[in-house]
C-alpha cells in the first residue's frame, strides 16, 4: 500500500520536476531546492518582520492603527513589507509541506535519515505557532476570531486553571501588557524555529540553505509583484463585544480553525496530536532491515580524506590513527549515519580495478556490494559483449529503469549510486577496450536519491573533483543519462544515439597514442 502511494507520488513529482525544469531550467528548478527555499523565506519574513516591528505599537488601541498607517500611508515600503511578511510566511508553509511530501514519496526518511525527518516534524509546529501568533498582532476582526478560537482550543487542555477565553470577553480584559507578551512571543518562537531548522540539517553534509541566485531573485521578484498587486490588508478593527460572523481566512495557516468551530476542540486536538505522532514514527513504518554500512580497511587507508569530503550524510569522519602506521588520520564510519550509498567507495583512490597484485580491498567499501565483486561483474559482463558499438551501462538503482535495456551488444550493471562507481572503472572499461563506450544512467539532476551523487559524478568526469576521471579517457565514449519517469529522452533513445555515435568513431588504437605534453627524453623512452 505504502509502496503504491510512493510509486504513484514519485511519478507525479517526476512529471512536475520535468515541467518545472522546462520553465525554470534545471539549475533553478524550485522543486530541487525546497529546503533551501524554506530558509530563504524565513529570512525574508525575518527582515520584513524587523521592519514592521519598528513601527508596531504594542497596545490594544494602537496596534491596529499602527499597522493601518504602515499599510496605507506608507504602502510603498511599509505596506510592501507587510505583504512580504504575509506572503513569505505562506510560501514557507507551501515549501515546507512540499518538501515533506517529496521526501516521504521518495522514501528518503528511513534508516539514518530518520533524524532529518524526525527533527523536521517539530518545525511544522513552530511555523504554525509563529504564524498564528503573528495574526493576533494585527488585532483586526480576523485576529479577534483567531484569539477567541485559539483560546477556546487551548482551554480544552487541562493545564489552565482559569479559561483563557475569558480574557477576550471584553476590551478591558485585553491589556497592553498582553500585547507586549504577544510581540515577545512573536520574536521568541521564530528564534526557536531557526534553532530547530539548524538542528534539522545537522546530519546533512553540504546542506544547501541558500537557493541558487537566479531562483532567489526570481522568488523575491514574484513576492514583490504579489505584494503590489494584492497587498495584505486588515479586516476592520477588533471589537470584542461583538462576535465575528464572517471573516476571510488565510488557508495556509488557519485551515483548522473552521474545524475547531465545527468539530470541537477535542477532535482537533486528536487530529493534530495523532498526525504529529504518525509523522514522527513514519520512518519506522514498516520496519525494514538496513543495508550493511561501509567499512574501513586500515591497511588500505592513508587518511587522504576523499571519502570524508564526499559523504553526503557526514557519516565518515577522520580520526587519529589507531593502527600504529605513521599516518596522522584514518577514515571512520559512524554506522548510525551511514545509509550505504557507496559514494565513499567511489571516491576512494585505492578502489581501482587495475589492482591485481594485492587483494582488491579499497580503503572503504560496502560489505555486500564490494569493489572486488564490481570488478568481477564488469569483466564478466563485458566478456559477453559482441559486435560494433558495445556498451556497458552502469545504472544507478534509483534511476530510470536501466534493466529495460536488453539488446545485443549492451550489458547493464547496477550500482547503488553513480558516484559509488570509482571513475577508474570507466578508464578500465574504455581504455582496456572491454566495451566501446560507457553509459551512466543516474537520477534526475537535482533529484539524486543520495543528494550529491549526480553532482560528484559530473565533477569527477569533468576533472573538477577528486578522484578525477583520467584526462586520457576519450569523453566521446562516455554518455551520462539523467532522468526518471516523464523525462523527454527515454533511456533506450539515448542508448541508440550513443551507439550510433560510437559506431562512427575511429576504433581506439591497439596501442593508445601518448599525450603530447611529454619531454623529449620521455618520448624517446616510450619509443
Amino acid at each position: 500500500m505504502l509502496k503504491i502511494i510512493q510509486s504513484a507520488g514519485q511519478t507525479v513529482f517526476s512529471r512536475l520536476d520535468r515541467l518545472f525544469s522546462v520553465v525554470f531550467g534545471d539549475r533553478a528548478n524550485p522543486l530541487y531546492h525546497l529546503g533551501a527555499l524554506g530558509f530563504y523565506f524565513f529570512w525574508i519574513v525575518a527582515v520584513s518582520g524587523i521592519y514592521l516591528y519598528i513601527f508596531f505599537e504594542t497596545s490594544t488601541v494602537a496596534a491596529y492603527r499602527s499597522i493601518e498607517h504602515l499599510t496605507h500611508d506608507q504602502w510603498w515600503l511599509g505596506g510592501v513589507m507587510r505583504s512580504l511578511h504575509r506572503y513569505g510566511s505562506d510560501a514557507m508553509v507551501v515549501v515546507m509541506f512540499t518538501h515533506m511530501t517529496r521526501e516521504f514519496l521518495f522514501d528518503r526518511m528511513r534508516g539514518p535519515r530518520w533524524y532529518s525527518w524526525f527533527t523536521g516534524v517539530p518545525l511544522l509546529a513552530f511555523v504554525y505557532a509563529s504564524g498564528i501568533n503573528g495574526y493576533w498582532l494585527v488585532w483586526d476582526r480576523l485576529a479577534q476570531y483567531i484569539a477567541v478560537t485559539t483560546a477556546e482550543w487551548l482551554d480544552w487542555l487541562p493545564f489552565f486553571t482559569e479559561p483563557i477565553a475569558r480574557n477576550f470577553l471584553n476590551e478591558a480584559a485585553v491589556s497592553d501588557r498582553f500585547f507586549s507578551l504577544l510581540s515577545f512571543l512573536h520574536i521568541g518562537i521564530p528564534l526557536f524555529l531557526l534553532l530547530a531548522m539548524w538542528i534539522h540539517i545537522q546530519r546533512i553534509a553540504h546542506a544547501r540553505t541558500n537557493p541558487p541566485r537566479l531562483l532567489a531573485v526570481g522568488t523575491l521578484a514574484a513576492l514583490l509583484v504579489l505584494a503590489l498587486a494584492f497587498p495584505a490588508l486588515s479586516q476592520g478593527p477588533a471589537k470584542l463585544d461583538t462576535v465575528v460572523a464572517r471573516v476571510g481566512l488565510d488557508w495556509f495557516y488557519l485551515p483548522l480553525y473552521p474545524l475547531i468551530d465545527r468539530w470541537g476542540s477535542g477532535t482537533v486536538w486528536a487530529l493534530v496530536g495523532g498526525s504529529g505522532l504518525l509523522l514522527m514514527v513514519l520512518p519506522w513504518l514498516p520496519y525494514r532491515k538496513r543495508d550493511p554500512v561501509a567499512v574501513v580497511s586500515l591497511p588500505n587507508c592513508n587518511g587522504c580524506g576523499w571519502c570524508f569530503a564526499d559523504c553526503p550524510y557526514s557519516a565518515v569522519t577522520l580520526a587519529p590513527r589507531s593502527d600504529g602506521l605513521p599516518f596522522e588520520q584514518e577514515a571512520v564510519v559512524n554506522p548510525e549515519l551511514c545509509i550505504a550509498c557507496g559514494i565513499c567507495v567511489g571516491s576512494c583512490p585505492t578502489a581501482t580495478p587495475f589492482r591485481r597484485l594485492t587483494d582488491l580491498t579499497p580503503g572503504i567499501d560496502l560489505p555486500d556490494r564490494n569493489i572486488r565483486e564490481l570488478r568481477a561483474r564488469t569483466v564478466a559482463a563485458c566478456a559477453g559483449l559482441e559486435g560494433p558499438a558495445r556498451v556497458l551501462v552502469y545504472g544507478c538503482r534509483h534511476s530510470a529503469h536501466a534493466d529495460q535495456l536488453i539488446e545485443p551488444g549492451v550489458t547493464v550493471l547496477t550500482v547503488p549510486c553513480l558516484a559509488a562507481l570509482p571513475p577508474s572503472f570507466i578508464d578500465f572499461v574504455i581504455m582496456r577496450r572491454q566495451a566501446d563506450g560507457v553509459l551512466l544512467a543516474g537520477c534526475n539532476r537535482g533529484n539524486c536519491h543520495y543528494r550529491l551523487g549526480t553532482d560528484w559524478t559530473a565533477q569527477r568526469l569533468a576533472g573538477e573533483r577528486d578522484p578525477r576521471l583520467r584526462e586520457r579517457v576519450p569523453r566521446n565514449r562516455i554518455e551520462i543519462f539523467h532522468g526518471g519517469r516523464g523525462w523527454p529522452d527515454s533511456l533506450p533513445e539515448v542508448l541508440t544515439r550513443f551507439r550510433a555515435r560510437l559506431a562512427s568513431l575511429a576504433p581506439l588504437n591497439e596501442k593508445p597514442p601518448h599525450p603530447a605534453a611529454k619531454t623529449p627524453e620521455q618520448q624517446h623512452g616510450a619509443d
Binding site: 592513508n302 587495475f354 589492482r355 591485481r356 578522484p467 583520467r470 596501442k511 593508445p512
Partner: protein, 132 residues
C-alpha cells in the same frame, strides 16, 4: 640493483608522506626485480598506480592544510603523472611485452623527476614554514 635509491633529500619532513615515499620506492624497486613476464609487470604497475593515487591524495591534503603556495602546479603534475603511468600500463598490456631498459628509464624519470623538482620544492616550503 635498485632502480631508484632512497635519498634523504626525498624527505619532505612529514612522517606519513615520507613513509609513503619509501613504500613507493620499495614497490618500484620490487617491480624492477620482478622484470620478466609482462603479466607480473602489469600486476606491479597496477599496484603502483593504486598506491601512488592514494599517496598523491594524501600529499595534496597535506599541501592544502599547510596552504602550500604552489598547490595548483604540484597537483597538476600529479594528474599528469597518473595519466602517464596509465599510458605505461596500457603500453605494456597492449604490446604484451616490453623492453626492460626502456621501461626502467620511463619509470625512473616518471617518478624521479617529480621527486627532484616538485617534492623538493614542497620540502623547502614546509621547512621554511617551520613544519620541517
Amino acid at each position: 640493483m635498485a632502480l631508484i635509491d632512497w635519498d634523504e633529500r626525498f624527505c619532505v619532513g612529514i612522517a606519513s608522506v615520507d613513509y609513503e615515499h619509501r613504500e613507493m620506492i620499495r614497490l618500484i624497486n620490487d617491480l624492477h626485480e620482478h622484470f620478466g613476464g609482462s603479466d607480473s609487470v602489469i600486476e606491479f604497475l597496477g599496484e603502483i598506480y593504486t598506491r601512488i593515487s592514494a599517496h598523491f591524495a594524501l600529499e595534496e591534503k597535506v599541501m592544502r592544510e599547510r596552504q602550500y603556495d604552489q598547490y595548483a602546479d604540484h597537483k597538476a603534475d600529479h594528474e599528469r603523472l597518473l595519466d602517464e603511468i596509465r599510458d605505461i600500463m596500457d603500453d605494456v598490456e597492449d604490446r604484451g611485452s616490453y623492453q626492460e631498459s626502456v621501461l626502467a628509464d620511463r619509470l625512473r624519470s616518471w617518478f624521479g623527476d617529480h621527486f627532484r623538482t616538485r617534492d623538493a620544492r614542497l620540502h623547502r616550503f614546509l621547512e621554511g614554514a617551520g613544519h620541517g
